[in-house]
């Protein structure tokens, strides 16, 4: 059964065909009439006797109205392209006028014996292609009747007889005898057979075109669904909290399946009750139940045990723990699949419809795929959250004893448990500093983990990079003054034009500025430049007169945990993670960073960042 959209689409398809054909015939007419004029003149000039004047008048008339047709056709296409009726009328006009001219030519070239009679068949074929079968037969009847009329008119002497083309000496006309009926009936039979053949072929072609359209429509639907499913998976992957992920899943599932609502129920720790973890499109009343006891809900039990369930009609009340609620909610059918993580079910994904018998086999298959993808996304996030939790826990566990060690060391160093000699004190102070370094390292590892995760789910806003850089510079100004380091800044006013994230940009600027200050000796110089590079990039340069980096160390600079020997000599408490984070952030923003350096002379970092990050980085919504 076709409704609305499908029907319109089919009509559009055939209308397009009609339009194309109409223009095609206009082209054919130029060729046909043009060639005919050329032939008549060639024959005439070659000494053949033929009615050159009436033939040419008719042919020129064809060219004339063809010009008008071309104009009308273009106007119709421009102003009323969506209406089918004008094009039908247009097709009728063309065929009628063509036939009229053809009959004029036939009359002047011998009437029923004219060799041009055969051309009538072409027009029947054309009518068959362009118009409905009935019109084709009507044209057939019309041309047969017209030829009959011509014979009668000539027979009765109303129209004078014309000689047959190129057979000027023979007058074949003997009306009233059976002689005339042979060519006439042959002609009539040829016309009717043509009409029959062309309309039959066309009907079968149309049927095929229709089924082709159906297939393409189905493919469209599947394509739309798959695209939506892809969007759903992408959206689910962008969440860092379980609730957000599941809310996306239910919202998308409702939309993609085109249903009333969707829910995710998760199995509680007791493995005996289910709770609504996320719901879309259902009332609060329906989902406010504290938990569903699966022992009392045979359907939920079966689903959790691994078998999907489709309920086409909610009348088997015994299946549910709260059947009256389902009816009250207006749910008429539902489709539920277990969310499987490896062997076990962790919950149930359900879609609900207010129509009975809503879900067919295709829906079931598709929903099964959707459920598996959702289960995978949930599982994925859960394990990543567990990993983060573990890292945090582990870091706390490492830091606690470290803090205790340092508390005790400080107590000893402070002389609260008795005096120390200088040597002892110095060693203990060094011990404390090494312990502090260990603490920093732990912090950096955790920060690194956090930053990498943060980059993935960061929100992008309009930023003013000049302002952010100025703030960073200000932050390090006092440290620089203390060390007698001069800052020379040239910061171009770029305005609020960058799409990015303040934290990330800050991370780049802070790390590089702080490094420059840290590794530049007293009375040094740090130059900081920010400018536009072309229309779409900003260029950030920072150079110092610091200790520099040796050539062999440069390639290792952006790899994890590397610290150059000369850097260690200056600053003991570095962890070597700063530049890795810078590199990671620059990469994520779609930019590039380069470093030039000479030992003992200084270092220059050149960083180019796009004003808008690559599209793949934009978070959804």
């Amino acid at each position: 059964m076709k409704v609305g959209y499908d029907l319109v689409k089919e009509q559009l398809f055939f209308r397009q065909e009609l339009k194309e054909r109409v223009f095609w015939f206009i082209h054919l007419r130029w060729i046909g009439a043009g060639t005919a004029i050329a032939i008549t003149w060639a024959a005439y000039l070659g000494g053949q006797s033929l009615p050159i004047l009436p033939l040419n008048i008719a042919l020129v008339f064809i060219l004339f109205y063809n010009t008008i047709f071309l104009y009308i056709g273009k106007r119709l296409e421009a102003f009323r392209p969506r209406e089918v009726r004008p094009f039908t009328v247009f097709a009728h006009t063309q065929i009628s006028l063509d036939l009229l001219c053809l009959y004029t030519l036939i009359y002047f070239t011998g009437g029923v014996y004219s060799p041009l009679l055969i051309f009538v068949i072409f027009h029947i074929i054309l009518a068959g292609i362009l118009l409905p079968p009935l019109s084709c037969y009507l044209y057939g009847a019309l041309v047969i009747a017209a030829l009959g009329g011509l014979v009668v008119l000539q027979d009765t002497g109303i129209l004078p007889l014309k000689p047959v083309l190129f057979q000027i000496h023979l007058l074949h006309y003997r009306y009233g005898s059976s002689g005339i009926s042979i060519p006439y009936l042959t002609f009539a039979a040829a016309i009717l057979i043509s009409a029959f053949l062309i309309t039959s072929v066309k009907v079968s072609l149309r049927t095929k075109a229709r089924s082709l359209l159906d297939v393409s429509h189905e493919l469209d639907l599947i394509n739309t669904k798959l695209t939506a499913l892809y969007e759903m998976v992408k959206e689910m992957g962008s969440h860092s909290d379980l609730k957000g992920l599941m809310d996306s899943a239910t919202r998308y599932a409702t939309r993609i399946m085109g249903v009333k609502g969707c829910s995710i129920k998760l199995l509680n720790e007791d493995k005996r009750t289910l709770r609504f973890a996320s719901v879309y499109g259902l009332s609060r009343d329906y989902t406010s139940k504290e938990s569903i006891d699966i022992e009392k809900s045979p359907i939920n039990l079966r689903i959790i045990q691994g078998s999907p369930y489709s309920i086409s009609h909610i009348d088997e009340k015994d299946y549910f723990q709260y059947p009256e609620d389902i009816l009250k909610e207006g749910i008429a059918s539902m489709l539920c699949f277990p969310l499987r993580a490896e062997e076990d079910s962790t919950g149930i994904l359900c879609v609900y419809s207010d129509k009975t018998y809503r879900f067919d086999e295709e829906d079931t298959k598709f929903f099964s795929l959707m459920t598996d993808l959702t289960a995978m996304a949930i599982e994925n996030l859960q394990s990543s959250l567990a990993r983060s939790w573990f890292t945090k826990k582990a870091v706390h566990q490492i830091r606690s004893p470290l803090n205790a060690i340092r508390s005790m060391l400080k107590t000893v160093i402070g002389g609260y448990v008795g005096g120390l000699n200088e040597k002892q004190k110095e060693l203990l102070i060094r011990t404390d500093r090494r312990a502090e370094l260990l603490g920093n390292l732990i912090s950096d590892i955790l920060r690194f983990d956090h930053d990498i995760k943060a980059i993935k789910r960061i929100k992008f806003l309009g930023l003013n990079p000049s302002m952010i850089l100025k703030q960073v510079v200000q932050l390090y100004q006092s440290e620089a003054i203390e060390k007698g380091i001069e800052f020379k800044t040239e910061i171009e006013e770029i305005g609020n034009t960058m799409i990015g994230n303040q934290e990330l940009l800050d991370e780049i600027f802070s790390n590089l500025v702080s490094n420059a200050v840290k590794y530049t000796p007293r009375d040094g110089l740090v130059r900081i430049n920010l400018s536009m590079k072309g229309e779409n990039h900003i260029l950030f340069e920072i150079s110092d007169t610091g200790i520099g980096i040796s050539q062999e160390d440069i390639p290792r600079l952006f790899t994890e945990f590397f610290r150059a020997d000369n850097a260690k000599a200056i600053e003991e408490n570095g962890t070597g993670l700063g530049l890795i984070i810078v590199k990671e952030v620059v990469d994520r923003l779609g930019g590039s960073i380069d470093v030039e350096s000479k030992i003992g002379e200084g270092t220059r970092f050149t960083c180019i960042l796009p004003l808008s990050p690559p599209l793949r980085l934009y978070p959804k919504g």
Binding site: K392, V395, H396, R399, S400, N403, A404, I405, R406, S407, M408, K410, T411, G414, Y416, V417, G439, S443, L446, R447, H450, A454
Partner: protein, 138 residues
Amino acid sequence: MSTGRDILIIEDDRDVVNSLRIILESKDFTVRYAYNGKEGYAKIKEKTPDLIILDVMMSTDTEGFDLAYKLRDDPQYRNIPIILETGFTQKMAEDGPERFQHILGESWPVSYFMEKPVDPEKLLSTVQSIIKGVDTPC
């Protein structure tokens, strides 16, 4: 020779408690201690201390905060000064500030913070300035 000033340390790490105790006792404070929030609350009820040094993360991530809020909401105890011992700035850097947003938005239950590991001199000067403030009638 006690100053008569009673300081309660609530902290789950015995070695840290011990260090703090040694430092504070060197300046003649009376030091009591508890290894968790519950025990600490009992000690407060037993005798109201002049100052509490409180660890944030004990058996749960926010045990110290929970106790601080509980005390703030109790008129009897709301005026006891509390030094919150924390790796807070470190934690901010690690977790990102959003984790603490819900706390930052509200009014703080405590007014003094001390970075872990505690620096003895800083601890003493903070404690002394707070105790002095308590001394001053207001």
